[in-house]
């Protein structure tokens, strides 16, 4: 039967993309944005250097835009094919099932808006993002709030997605290993969340 394995393969691809390159990119993104801890000058220097990297377009499209699009489109199909039954089945994993979908949605909305303001802005105006621009951008309280929601959503979505991907690929089959990954989910969410918010704080002061 033609196309028999398509959905299975696409789902595995979606799972893989969530970890690499998307999850890996989030870590890299946080790492390099940590240049902001060195002050405005260091941050501006880094942005200029990274945007001047000759292969940046290939990396941005090939390693971020395309995988994100595939991950998102399949995510929407998964949401459509699922349902909510927290009442009466209020189990931990069922909560995570819902949270994964909710944070996927909020993280997506945030990422689109974030990319528009901090990357496409530079593309259309020809001016790179600077520390001063970011400071001004973070001016309104709702922007800060949206960033907090966006960062925490993305971080949780990655951490929980990593735990479920380990089940999907069959790495963690036992109760013990799945519990270990559950705990790792919250450790990653806490530390990466704190890291992300600390970066945000470095801009807003």
């Amino acid at each position: 039967m033609a196309g028999r394995y398509d959905y299975f393969l696409l789902k595995r691809l979606q799972s893989l993309f969530g970890i690499f390159p998307l999850g890996a990119f989030l870590v890299v993104h946080f790492t390099f944005n940590s240049f902001v801890f060195g002050g405005a000058e260091t941050f501006n220097l880094f942005v200029g250097a990274s945007q001047g990297f000759p292969l940046i377009a290939f990396m941005e499209i090939g390693l971020i835009a395309v995988p994100l699009l595939v991950h998102t489109l399949l995510g929407l199909i998964i949401i459509y094919r699922g349902s909510v039954n927290l009442v009466p089945y209020t189990y931990y994993r069922n909560w995570m099932y819902i949270l994964q979908r909710v944070t996927g949605f909020t993280a997506l909305a945030f990422v689109v808006w974030h990319v528009w303001n901090t990357r496409l802005h530079a593309f259309f105006t020809g001016k790179h993002v600077t520390f001063a621009y970011m400071q001004q951008h973070f001016g309104p309280a709702w922007v800060k709030a949206f960033y907090i929601v966006g960062i925490m959503s993305a971080v949780f979505h990655l951490a929980n997605g990593f735990a479920t991907a380990m089940m999907t690929w069959g790495v963690t089959a036992s109760k013990k290993s799945q519990l270990a990954m559950t705990m790792a989910t919250w450790v990653i969410t806490f530390f990466m969340g704190a890291w992300g918010l600390r970066i945000l704080l470095a801009f807003t002061g």
Binding site: M1, R81, P88, Y91, N94, M167, T168, S174
Partner: protein
Amino acid sequence: MDEIRLKIKRQDGPDELPYWEEFAVPYGPKMNVVMCLQAIQNDPVTVEGLPTTPVVWECSCLEEVCGSCTMIVNGKVRQSCSALVDQLEQPITLEPMTKFPVVRDLRVDRSKMFEALKEAGAWVTVDGYFDLGPGPRMAPADQQKAYHFSRCMVCGCCCEACPQYNSRSPFMGAFVMGQAFMFNTHPIGALEKEKRLDALMGVGGLGDCSNAQNCEKACPKNIPLTEAIARLGWDTTIHMIRKFLR
């Protein structure tokens, strides 16, 4: 307490609209929901005193091993024979399972579960009636493992509790994964392991699981379904790579 109050979601036929009726049946010690339904069958009169049709439901073993009396009792899917009145809040609400077509009242058509078992090849093929001699040996540890999965009665609780099992998704359900895993580990069943893995990589297979893990929580037999799903996830990964390379 001298009477038991029940609220039952009724439906006269597959294409009819559902409606609720309330009943009161005389209380007896250690009664279960099936006994309440039998009392209603004997005297089908609602609490308003109006005569009605007897409530239709299925049951057989009355000891939670056949799965046929599965329904939603006070919001949660379970077998009505092991649902004891003394442990239930009243009025006891009874509803048919929502993931299967209703035949009438509390009786549903679960034939798509059987179709799924056929799709996944959840059996051991033994060809012919002649004496094949003793079967291959199985390590006691493997027997123990298989025993858990052999307790599956195809009741539908895992499907009912699964957020991924619905009319928009072709998902075959967690019980299939448990059965496929069991037969894959069986010495004779293992001969057709690849056929089962192919089926589980197909439409409605593992690709439709989203690890909500309600299946295992809802399973009245505590079958380690999520372990089976994860182990099959690994097996299909290897199978997928091997199939591509060889």
